[in-house]
């Protein structure tokens, strides 16, 4: 008997060496940053080039999956629409692999609307869209010059897509959509794109795109992409480097204002409607002329406002500690000294303590880089006559690091450097009251939910799994600046408020949590009535139907 047991043991011994541990030697899953659509979240998996749209109102929390182009590089919400835009670079191919074209995919949150795919001629990695969401301009971002691993590419090539039109090829009367365009280069490449509000030229509305590049800007008529672009040099000095940083548009007196780092001037580009005198296409039906406005030393921020029927340009120049008020029609400048090197400005129109019965143009001037511990309120109505008497200083508990205006709710939030006693201040613009808010252990991952009535959400870094909030304005049953906290079950990494209520009538807050394998880990909290008992977690939802959906 003992011999039989011994024999049996010897036979079984090899089985004990079996090891079912999984070796991990692959590259981790890659996701683009989460996109908050109006009422749902969108995740784009780069390896499988699949978009997952997760509806918080869904009982099962099963995401809708939509295949997108190969090698997606950017995903954004389309302005003004509940749609996802995904830019992918495709695959240049090889002797063994068939090339795949780059694409722009438009995916509607409504599953009954079929996605629209715009095939692109070049492998772009930069995407900008007009404020109304009609136009998309695709470009080669300067951070990745050799985008898409194309052996040859023109960094000044653009693609203009009109999302209100289906993909099309050019005919005798229409241009193709997308429209490929190579813009003139003065030695630079695009560093950013800013879209204008609607101008009117030749009695038709126009959206202009201002493409920023070092030492120059390029103006493209988005409604007529086949027309010649207009290149506006900002400097003729080959030794200077001007980096356009801010662009403002005045549609009443057609002007474009450009603030460029490295220059003490503001560049005013006047647009003149040629009307019936306009030359035939591809020339433009408007003309530009450049003026240079002196604005102090190292201007950092500017704002347009109207007073008494005319437009004024306010420019902050922290290098000279001045606020310049410029009349663009005459180029006359009124320079007012400021007590702090303010470099950021919020212009608002509300009543002031001195004139509680009427609205006035005012500005809040903040220094977010030099450590000033005060802010200035400026009365813009009278500043040109009253000088610095129109400026009133208010102390801060600490130096501000960022400014978040919520003008529709009459407040501005000043964020500090995570100091525990002074984490932020909430500025009531009408009352000119600054309410300091402390944070016991510092704020992490703070997000301001701009949907009125606004809340500030933050990760409680002092307590595990804590999600705290601050009511920035009063809401039903809760006073303004009251706080609250709810506890989740996992470590929080990101907070994403959604802008609209989902189909179940609740507006949600997506709280992303530790997700080492990048399979999707989010807890959904009612954004208006945060409560742990109504929260739900979707973990691993990016694996939905994972085994059967096949490899891309």
């Amino acid at each position: 008997m003992r011999r039989r047991v011994l024999l049996l043991s010897l036979l079984l011994s090899p089985l004990s060496a079996c090891n079912d541990a999984i070796p991990n030697h692959s590259t981790p899953n890659a996701l683009l940053p989460t996109v908050a659509l109006a009422d749902r979240m969108a995740y784009v998996e780069q390896n499988s080039h699949t978009a997952f749209l997760l509806d918080p109102a869904s009982k099962t929390l099963v995401p809708r999956m939509v295949s997108v182009g190969k090698a997606p590089v950017a995903a954004v919400k389309r302005n003004g629409q509940n749609q996802l835009l995904v830019l992918s670079q495709g695959d240049p191919g090889s002797a063994q692999i068939t090339p795949v074209a780059a694409e722009l995919e438009e995916i509607d949150a409504d599953a009954s609307v079929a996605p629209v795919t715009y095939t692109l001629a070049s492998r772009f990695n930069g995407l900008a869209q007009s404020p109304d969401g009609r136009f998309v301009l695709l470009y080669h971002g300067s951070s990745a010059q050799n985008s898409g691993e194309s052996p040859l590419f023109n960094p000044n090539e653009l693609a203009i897509v009109d999302l209100t039109l289906p993909p099309s090829v050019a005919t005798q009367s229409t241009v193709s959509n997308p429209y490929a365009k190579s813009i003139r280069s003065l030695g630079g490449v695009p560093t950013g794109v800013v879209f204008s509000p609607s101008f009117t030229f030749a009695s038709t509305p126009r959206i202009l795109a201002v493409i920023l590049a070092e030492n120059y800007v390029t103006i493209v008529d988005m409604n007529n992409p086949d027309r010649t672009e207009i290149t506006v040099p900002l400097s003729t000095d080959s030794n200077s480097t001007l980096s356009p940083a801010q662009v403002l548009f005045d549609t009443v007196n057609p002007n474009i204002y450009v603030l460029a780092y490295g220059s003490d001037d503001i560049f005013q580009i006047s647009l003149t409607d040629l009307g019936a005198a306009a030359p035939a296409p591809p020339s433009n039906d408007f003309r530009v002329s450049l003026s240079i406005l002196a604005a102090g030393t190292s201007p950092s921020d500017m704002a347009l406002y109207s007073t008494g029927g005319s437009t004024r340009l306010a420019v902050l120049a922290p290098g000279s500690q001045t606020l310049a008020i410029i009349d663009p029609s005459t180029s006359s400048t009124t320079s007012i000294a400021t007590s702090i090197p303010a470099n950021q400005m919020v212009v608002f129109n509300t009543s002031s303590p001195s004139a509680p019965d009427q609205s006035e143009q005012q500005a809040l001037l903040v220094d977010v880089s030099s450590g000033s511990t005060s802010v200035l309120f400026a009365d813009l109505q009278s500043i040109e006559t009253a000088g610095n008497l129109a400026l009133v200083s208010y102390p801060l508990g600490a130096s501000a690091t960022s400014v978040v205006p919520l003008l529709d709710q009459g407040i501005v939030v000043l964020m500090y450097s995570q100091y525990s006693a002074n984490a932020l201040s909430v500025v009531d613009l009408a009352k000119r009251e600054l309410s300091p808010i402390g944070a016991g252990s510092g704020l992490q991952g703070s997000v301001i939910d701009s949907t009125a009535p606004s809340r500030l959400w933050s990760i409680d870094s002092g307590a595990q799994y804590g999600l705290c909030y601050l009511n920035l304005v009063a809401r039903t049953g809760q006073a303004s600046l009251s706080t609250g906290e709810i506890w989740l079950d996992q470590n929080i990494t990101n907070i994403i408020p959604l802008g609209q209520a989902s189909s179940d009538g609740h507006r949600y807050l997506a709280v992303e949590q530790d997700d080492a394998n990048k399979v999707g880990n989010v807890t959904l909290v009612d954004a208006d009535n945060p409560d742990r008992t109504s929260a739900r977690t979707a973990y691993g939802f990016l694996l939905t139907n994972y085994l059967e959906r096949g490899q891309p």
Partner: protein
């Protein structure tokens, strides 16, 4: 992949060994012993009287049938289900196991009816390049088999076998603390046939009471039918909360297991 190849080589080696070993034994064994053990194969050849007179030489082996057996087995399946192929990273999957056999009924001259109880484990893992995720599937299966064999020679018998049983799968996706897993129970059955090979029984002692042990091998091919495992991943975070926030399950897909197979068993009989 390496594991699969190694197991296949092991199976091949074992098969070759047991195809050649019994014939060698058979050549060395006396014709008398063979005929004594398998009377239905005997021809009426009278024994030589001088051999009876030259005894007593001690017998070290015999072709007497054994009643019990225990064997290690390797089963290779040619996967048909695309999900199973993907999880294995190959079209072929191999598992290892152990089985116990019992010759329940011996119908002399015709057939032997055997029962066997087996356990088989299969473990596969892959890393999906497209998702960057590690995937692992471990299957454990218990089966009860019924086989009928007919000895053409003392060491060779074709057989037919039907088996059925239950098992459970464990699927793991991802690695580390964030991995997700699910376990599913499944039923399975198989129908196959093959060859049974055996060596003579060796006497492990000097007396007749000493145990006798023989080597046995089975080479079996057939088709496996089983219920699919429909996996649904659920993760419950480690929390001290009395009522954790509910986590929605994720239906990840279905793994089918119908496949032709080749099973090679090597063991001892006693």
């Amino acid at each position: 992949m390496t594991t699969t190849k190694t197991l296949t080589m092991r199976a091949t080696f074992a098969g070759v060994l047991f195809l050649t070993l019994p014939s060698a034994f058979a050549a060395a064994q006396s014709e008398t012993d063979s005929k004594a053990a398998w009377p239905h194969l005997n021809q009426p050849t009278p024994p030589a009287p001088e051999l009876r007179q030259t005894a007593p030489t001690p017998r070290h082996w015999s072709w007497d049938p054994s009643r019990f057996g225990v064997a290690l087995e390797i089963r290779t399946t040619w996967l048909q289900d695309s999900v199973a192929k993907r999880l294995t990273g190959s079209n072929v999957s191999s598992g290892e196991g152990i089985s116990l056999q019992w010759d329940a009924l011996r119908l002399e001259r015709i057939a032997t009816v055997s029962l066997d109880l087996g356990w088989l484990t299969t473990s596969t893992s892959t890393n999906q390049d497209f998702s960057g995720l590690a995937e692992g599937l471990t299957s454990n299966m218990f089966s009860l088999g019924l086989s009928v064999r007919h000895h053409l020679l003392p060491w060779l018998a074709p057989f037919a076998r039907v088996a059925g049983g239950m098992g459970w799968d464990r699927l793991t996706v991802g690695t580390g603390t964030g991995d997700l897993h699910d376990e599913r129970v499944f039923g399975q059955g198989s129908l196959g046939g093959g060859l049974f090979l055996r060596s003579p029984r060796l006497l492990l002692g000097a007396t007749r009471a000493a145990p006798e042990v023989g080597l046995v091998a089975y080479v079996e091919g057939g088709y496996l039918l089983g219920t699919s495992s429909d996996f649904t991943l659920t993760s419950q975070p480690a929390t001290a909360a009395s009522s954790p926030i509910p986590t929605s399950p994720v239906a990840i897909g279905k793994v089918g297991r119908d496949a032709p197979y080749l099973r090679v068993s090597v063991g001892i009989a006693f």
